[in-house]
Amino acid sequence: MVALISLSILGVFSMIAGLFNVNTKAVLTISIVTILGVLGFTAGFHWNNDYSRFYDMLNFDNYAVAFTCAILGSTAILLLFSEHFFSNIKQYITEYYSLIIFSVVGMIAMVAFDNLAMLFLGIEIMSVPLYILVGSQKKNLLSNESSLKYFLMGAFTTGILLMGITLIYGETGSFDLSTIQSYFQENATDSSPILLVGLFFLLAAMAFKVSAAPFHFWTPDVYQGSPTFITAFMSTVVKIAGFGAFFRLFYICFAPISEVWTTAIWVMAALTITIGSITAVFQNDIKRLLAYSSISHAGYMLISLLMVKNVESEAFGAIFYYVISYSISSIALFSVIMAVQKVKDSSSIDAFKGLAKANPLLGIIAAVSIASLAGLPPTAGFLAKFYILKSTVESGYVWLALIAVTNAIIGIFYYFKVLIAIYFKEAEDQSLSLIASSLAYKIVAVLLVIGILVLGIFPDLVYSIF
């Protein structure tokens, strides 16, 4: 609750600060400090201390607290990395901050909801600032296109989500998660068309938000067209929130009728992983490549939804470890992309040629984050995939595990295209050696790299918290 209120105040503050031309560095510092403070407060006071508000519409249980902290932490790291991006932007900088913070407020509601109405509110609060942020480069045609695309598709999905909620309400008579859950426990064999359609609508809407196939078509265009900082925000923080909500809704609320939807998730996961990784192979633009790879990662995370029969703490641990390792690795890689874009206009893979030689630190950050995204030991990404594979085999989905493994190999192939450009190709011009980073950037980057490795060697730090 404190988190929601203080972040809303922070958002309003930075919006007003823009009006009065307050120094943007100061606003950024205040924002980061507040976010970290809220993170510390949430982790410290709400952990192991369930806390409901608004007639049980929000419930800060351990699951919600963990995801809230992940969202806040990723946002803070991303803001710390923003210097390369904002150095190219002249105006409305604090408005960026405030929109991001408002979006984060929506995400917290999304991972802590205990009521379908709150889920809807959270998704909307998160999405509306995103529509603006995606289109924030007013003079850029691609940015405008992606904003329009995202907005139209998103608005349509909102309709479907509402329809799904209504149908579920019609069947169970409640918006409240625990009431719905107990209804299903009593009527486990219920398979009325209303319920099935409602469930399918909810599934489609959530799949759209996390860009799972076959609802993924907006992702590449939007990721490519958005300003890079917003792409990074969408592919990491928004994804954490999306999966937080998806998992909470299906794993907790619809668990009693899992037979109805596990097959659908199985097929979607296999499709998502395969489409994402195969299409990524043919991309030459790094943002588009990462868009497809993020689709593929969404597929791995979907697999965790199949673990309904497992121990709860294992399933929570697996999904949480995956989102953490995926988001810190992606943020690290995006920070490199932003740095390169500062001196080069293009985001094609060729722009990264010779980066390691011109700037060894950026080279190492890129290498470790790519290794982690590709799932090579001893990085966090390996164990993330390992936990997912282990539980897939454990739940008896050996075929799905084989599909996942095959795609992991394809994943290594396209990630290494980027790594090869960075390490083994010669630069075409000297511009890459002009990238200068502040000390703060360097410290955060090194800490992030160490974090990826430490998480890979001591995964229990995150996996065993539930």
Binding site: L376, L389, V393
Partner: protein
């Protein structure tokens, strides 16, 4: 003690980051020699406690409690031989690179030590999860070594190599996870827990395949060998030596430690097919080797042939052939590195590897010619060289399995003599050519690399007992596992 042996190269690779310029070479060599001394010390302790307990040679520390992963290491006779091989070759490989200059030398030598850690870890680990991690950790540095420093096509070729080997190891990972989930509650990855599993022959056969693909790609066994000639040819000399001398032993060792004791029924289900594949590989690779114009490629194919014989002996798995496998792993590592060192010396002076454009080097460099001849005779398994001991045991074991196959596999010695001696004749004897006219003889550095190699070739050829006695007990228990 063995933890120190494992972690010292890792520390060395980090330590090297603090040095700039040519001094790195000296520091690297010093570190490699310290590591060699450490392993000789372990060897001497191992021998002196041969009859008593081996407690000092295993380590078991809980690591990831949520998965039941332990940091478990164990050194037995067979792994000790491979550890000695690794630590013996790394200083020589480093010394052989003294004549090259690398862009950012600390990266290069750091990667070599990182790879050494991975290799030692593979040979020591007693926990399947740890084994898998080290298996991959050994791969990544050698990929960088080969892709950063090498020939023109190195980038495509090494990527193929990397993807190919990862493909194998990920299927092995599924196999490992399957075995893990079969262990009793509070699952465990430990070797002994895996060994206690009693799986049906069909299941063992499937899990065998998932492990075997990984190991077969690494060795490589025909028809999984397609990455190997290109990678060996395009890598720089040190990368080729690491790959051929040490890395392919990971696959053979994997079969010895992780397949034979754990999946004996699966092993017996598939062994006939694998033996036939291995023997086909021997003849096939030997015939291709005869046709090669590029000397490095020739050695690459000859290496497939030699490893094919080792693989055949491995899957015959009687006491004689397994003893042959262990000793031949050591021999092959030493001999093939010797061959590549000589080729590197020739290439760095003449700037070519084309056999046809070389000739008459013996008249300009008699020392090189003599040392090369001994290494080459080791490769063709002449009596009193190490190759004879290994190949004799292997063929003897294969003969006990099937005499026709053994006769067919015996062709390797004849064909090997054909291409090896022809190479020697064309490169070392005959008329000087324009490229070899100003050939100079070995420098002291190069002598320091080649003389230890030649010494080992002769010592093992005359008195193989030094090493066979180390592994005899373990080989016996392996054969016992298959009954």
């Amino acid at each position: 003690m063995i933890t120190a042996l494992l972690l010292f190269p890792l520390l060395a690779s980090i330590f090297l980051l603090f040095f700039k310029g040519e001094i790195v070479k000296k520091v690297a060599l010093a570190a490699a020699i310290i590591e060699l001394a450490l392993s000789v010390w372990v060897w001497s302790v191992f021998c002196s406690t041969c009859t008593t307990s081996k407690e000092a040679f295993s380590v078991d520390i809980p690591w990831i409690s949520s998965l039941g992963v332990h940091f478990a290491l164990k050194v037995d006779g067979i792994s000790l031989i491979l550890i000695l091989l690794t630590n013996f070759l790394i200083p020589l490989i480093i010394l052989s690179t003294y004549k090259h200059t690398y862009n950012k030398p600390f990266t290069f030598y750091g990667l070599v030590f990182a790879m050494q850690t991975g290799l030692l870890g593979v040979f020591m680990s007693y926990d399947a999860f740890l084994f898998y991690i080290f298996w991959e950790v050994a791969l990544i540095p050698v990929y960088f070594i080969s892709a950063l420093y090498g020939g023109k096509r190195r980038i495509e070729v090494t990527l193929k190599f990397f993807i190919y080997t990862i493909l194998g190891s990920l299927f092995m990972l599924i196999g490992i996870i399957y075995l893990y989930l079969q262990t009793p509650n509070a699952h465990s990855f430990s070797w002994s827990a895996f060994q206690l599993l009693e799986l049906s022959p069909d299941i063992q056969g499937l899990v065998f395949l998932s492990f075997f693909i990984a190991f077969a790609i690494k060795m490589p066994i025909f028809p999984f060998h397609t990455w190997q000639p290109d990678t060996y040819t395009e890598s720089n000399a040190a990368g080729t030596m690491l790959l051929s001398g040490i890395m392919l032993k990971m696959g053979i060792f994997g079969v010895i430690r992780w397949i034979i004791p754990i999946l004996p029924l699966g092993f017996m289900k598939w062994d006939d097919i694998v033996i036939v594949l291995a023997v086909i590989g021997i003849v096939y690779a030997s015939i291709i080797a005869i046709q090669q114009k590029d000397a490095k490629r020739l050695v690459a194919y000859s290496s497939i042939a030699h490893v094919g014989l080792i693989a055949a002996g491995l899957f015959v798995a009687n006491e004689i052939s397994l003893q042959g496998v262990v000793i031949q792993m050591l021999n092959h590592g030493v001999n093939v590195v010797g061959m590549f060192v000589v080729l590197d010396i020739i290439e760095s002076r003449t700037k070519t590897r084309e056999i046809s454009s070389l000739g008459g080097i013996a008249s300009r460099a008699p020392k090189l010619a003599i040392l090369f001849l001994i290494i080459l005779l080791g490769n063709v398994a002449l009596p009193l060289t190490n190759g004879f001991v290994g190949e004799f045991l292997l063929l003897n074991g294969l003969f006990g399995y099937n005499s026709y196959l053994a006769a067919f596999a015996g062709l390797t010695i004849i064909l090997g003599a054909v291409y090896m001696l022809r190479t020697f004749q064309k490169v070392m004897l005959g008329q000087l050519t324009s490229t070899t006219e100003d050939f100079t003889d070995l420098t002291p550095n190069e002598m320091a690399v080649l003389i230890p190699i030649v010494a080992v070739i002769l010592v093992i050829g005359v008195y193989p007992n030094i090493f066979t006695s180390l592994s005899a007990a373990d080989v016996k228990s392996l054969v016992g596992a298959l009954k």
